[in-house]
C-alpha cells in the first residue's frame, strides 16, 4: 500500500505593507514550498487585509491567506521551516485536519476562491468567502464544505 498522507490547513499572515505584485510572488513561492515537498494544494482562500486583534510585530493589519493542502507528514514541518525564514510572514498556524488519508482519494485541486487582493476595502468581518460566493455561484457553494 502506498504511503498515506495527512491533510492540513495553514492560515498565513503576510505583511500588510507588501505591494500587490510582491505579495502574489510571495504567495506563489509559499505554494511551491508545499508542492516541492511533494504535497498537493487542495484549496486557497484569500481573506485579504484584515484588522488584527492585537498589534503584532508593529503591525495592526495583515493579509490573511488560508491554504488547504495534503502531503506526506514532513510537508508541514518543511513548510513551517521555510515560512520561519521569511520576514514578510508575520505569523502562521498549521492545523492537521485529517491524518492517514489515501492520496488517491483526495479531491481535485479546487479553484482559487476569494479575489486575490482586490478586496482591500473589506477590512472588517468579511471572510472573503461570502464575497466569492456572491460572485462565483457554484465555486462558492463548494467552498462551504470545510470541517
Amino acid at each position: 500500500m502506498a504511503e498515506l498522507w495527512n491533510r492540513y490547513e495553514s492560515l498565513i499572515l503576510f505583511d500588510p505593507d507588501l505591494g500587490e505584485e510582491a505579495r502574489t510572488e510571495l504567495i506563489g513561492r509559499v505554494k511551491e514550498y508545499i508542492t516541492n515537498a511533494s504535497g498537493r494544494i487542495l484549496k486557497t482562500d484569500h481573506w485579504g487585509l484584515r484588522e488584527l486583534a492585537f498589534v503584532m510585530k508593529g503591525r495592526s493589519k495583515a493579509y490573511y491567506l488560508l491554504v488547504e493542502f495534503a502531503g506526506p507528514a514532513p510537508v508541514s514541518t518543511e513548510l513551517a521551516r521555510r515560512l520561519n525564514l521569511l520576514d514578510t510572514v508575520l505569523k502562521f498556524q498549521t492545523i492537521k485536519l485529517e491524518d492517514r488519508v489515501d492520496p488517491a482519494e483526495l479531491p481535485e485541486a479546487e479553484e482559487e476562491s476569494g479575489v486575490p487582493a482586490a478586496e482591500e476595502k473589506g477590512a472588517e468581518e468579511t471572510p472573503a468567502e461570502e464575497a466569492a460566493a456572491a460572485q462565483a455561484g457554484d465555486a462558492g457553494e463548494a467552498e462551504k464544505t470545510e470541517e
Binding site: L11, L13, L52, A53, F54, M56, A62, Y64, L66, K91, F92, Q93, I95, E125, P127, E146, E147
Partner: protein, 77 residues
C-alpha cells in the same frame, strides 16, 4: 417553601447542541467572541451553559484564533 439557594430563572442550554449549524472553529471569530468576557477571558461553562464537550472544543478554537490574532488575548473593558 422554596429552597433559599435554589437557582431561579431560565435553565441554560449549550448553544452548540441546540444549533448544530453554528460554526465552532477558529475561522469564525464572531461566534467565538460571544464566549469571551469584556476582558477577553473565556467565559466558564457555569455561566455560558455549554456542555463539556462543546466547551472543550470552544476553548481549543478560541486559543487557535488568538494565535492568529483573530481574537485578543486580553483587552481593556
Amino acid at each position: 417553601m422554596a429552597h433559599p439557594y435554589r437557582r431561579r430563572g431560565r435553565r441554560k442550554v449549550c448553544r452548540f447542541c441546540v444549533d448544530p449549524s453554528l460554526p465552532l472553529n477558529y475561522k469564525h471569530p464572531e461566534v467565538l467572541r460571544q464566549f469571551l468576557s469584556e476582558r477577553a477571558k473565556i467565559v466558564p461553562r457555569r455561566i455560558s451553559g455549554n456542555c463539556s464537550y462543546h466547551q472543550r472544543l470552544l476553548t481549543r478554537e478560541i486559543k487557535r484564533a488568538r494565535n492568529v490574532a483573530l481574537l485578543p488575548f486580553t483587552e481593556l473593558p
